[in-house]
Amino acid sequence: MTILDIIIQQLTNGLILGSFYSLVALGYSMVYGIIKLLNFAHGDIYMVGAFVGFVILSFVSTLLGDGWLGILPSMILAMTAVGFLGVLIQRIAYRPLLSAPRLSILIVAVGVSLVLFNSVMVVTIGEYKAFPSGLGYEGITMGHVHITYTQMVMVGATAVLMIALHLFIAKTIYGKAMRAISIDMDACRLMGIDVNKIIALTFFVGSSLAAAAGVMAGVYYGSIHFFMGFVIGLKAFTSAVIGGIGSIPGAMLGGLLLGLLESFGTQLPWVGTEWKDVFAFGLLILLLVFKPTGILGRTEIERM
């Protein structure tokens, strides 16, 4: 393998990994932006997304067959279902505590995370499930590097989702309301915005994006597991901080950046795959020391 091969290979890996991180990071950042909550359960939403997609795909593939024809509608159904799950969680667990001390809502988020992944653990008896994607390894080969169509479709799908999100936030009245609430929730209430509805919508969108990432991860890795959300939750948070937490373009950028850094990082002699998580968390800590506002985040002076 030449240097160029390695670069292309790691670029591809990094983009795919980064897509997953970005999609999950978006939910983190959106929720943080709007109610200043670090939603620990968000990584588990991604995991649940993968499992819901798995169940739906098992049914759908008997009707539509394997391959993208079955996967795409399953993904959309999973996104919808998990979106509602996100809203439900917000309604039951977070809404009663929005005005309580911050510690309470953080602890509740931990509780929700426990509930989610342990439910899946109980149902699956903690086993890995093979994801029936039925996709082959066709693709294009450049030098020693083989890039599958699956990989390309995935990066493409992520791009589509991000553009859609961007348009939603920038152009629709709901997007405008979200941005307004993140600046001043009380003022929005006074202006007659149904704040609770917009918060619910934020959870819906954030959760569906995570579910999309979950389904794609299932397709990509070929197997899913109840604990798969834990580390990606941490990584997505790191991505959100890299980009600037609360910032939507920041989350996209941060995810891709972390994906690339990690892929190339594994090439460093003293990092390797064994230490790649340590590498990512180390990065997080360094970032928090030197630039806690991230790349695109604003320095906010809290009102006294």
Partner: protein, 333 residues
């Protein structure tokens, strides 16, 4: 007894008893009454090994161990109001310090304790120092990451830690020539640790530092305006919590003589947090009750098995929504 109306005869008898009780309680004001209860509890705990079987002792020893961890985490979460999701990492620091130093460098068990304290402090400062300057929420996620880093490091540094299969052959502590190798030995060792942890927690809570934690917890800005260095105060809490776990970890390693990275998973941290929330953050008796409940509950309801953590999650959410002060009752003011 200053009731103006004459009570009916039956009631007179009971109120006579109550009167006796009242007169007794004149000797015991509220404080000495509490002392008495505490004394009786200690007496009961000390005499259990004389009657209990080794299964009971094993469970109770385990509970004592969790009480110490809960009291430590309570300093961070209950006193200073910080969320630490990687607490098990500090317990790993202590356990591995003892494990590595005794099994590979042949240190005496007792000498590894100061070393573990030292490493716990270092780890606490490295993680807490930068993070505590930011919004408190960041600490939660960074500690989560730290927990993972520690576990991964324990897996990967094979020469030192034995990798995924862990360390074996850790020296047991001995006490004036007596090797501590019976369950009732450890029962007493951990019981003494509990007493020590309660004592230290109590003294800290009722001190200048303890008040500072409460000021910062209630209103960070006002505390700062009063000249309190909020970062330093939080760091104190974080590091003291780390030391509690580190020391507990040493004794854990000494008792088990074998440790492996999987003992220090996120679930471990979540379990300790669960006990703290259940007992009531900031309350010393609450920590004891919380830890006991946490250990005894799955022992009594064996069939729950794998659903245990699911139940914990549900309880955690319900507690925070409906009874954030924990199951230990509030003291009336």
């Amino acid at each position: 007894m200053a009731e103006p109306s004459t009570p009916p005869p039956a009631a007179a008898a009971t109120s006579g008893l109550a009167g006796l009780e009242e007169r007794l309680f004149v000797f015991f004001d509220k404080r000495s009454r509490r002392r008495l209860v505490q004394g009786l509890l200690v007496l009961a705990a000390v005499s259990i090994p004389l009657v209990g079987d080794s299964y009971l002792l094993e469970i109770l020893t385990n509970s004592f161990f969790y009480i110490v961890l809960c009291l430590g985490l309570n300093i961070v979460v209950g006193y200073a109001g910080l969320l630490d999701l990687g607490y098990a990492a500090f317990f790993a620091v202590g356990a591995y310090t003892t494990g590595i130093l005794t099994s590979q460098f042949d240190w005496n068990f007792w000498l590894t304790i100061p070393a573990a304290v030292f490493f716990s402090i270092i780890a606490g400062v490295i993680i807490g120092g930068p993070t505590l300057r930011l919004r408190s929420d960041y600490l939660a996620i960074v500690t989560l990451g730290f927990g993972e880093i520690t576990r991964i490091a324990a897996r990967n540094l094979k020469e030192l830690t034995g990798g995924a299969s862990g360390l074996i052959g850790i020296n047991r502590p001995s006490f004036f020539g007596l090797e501590l190798n019976q369950i009732h030995h450890y029962y007493y060792v951990f019981f003494i640790l509990v007493l020590l942890a309660v004592f230290v927690s109590f003294r800290l809570q009722h001190s200048r530092l303890g008040r500072a934690w409460q000021y910062v917890r209630e209103d960070e800005d006002a505390a700062e305006a009063m000249g309190i260095d909020r970062v330093a105060v939080k760091l104190y809490a974080y590091v003291i919590g780390a030391v509690f776990a580190g020391v507990a970890g040493c004794f854990f390693a000494g008792k088990m003589t074998a440790i492996s990275p999987e003992t220090f998973q996120f679930m471990q941290s979540a379990t300790i947090l669960m006990a703290v929330v259940l007992g009531g953050m900031g309350k010393i008796p609450g920590m004891i009750v919380g830890a006991l409940a946490l250990i005894l509950f799955p022992e009594i309801f064996r069939e729950i098995g794998s659903v245990r953590m699911l139940v914990f999650g549900v309880v955690l959410v319900m507690m925070m929504i409906f009874r954030p002060q924990g199951i230990w009752p509030e003291r009336r003011n």
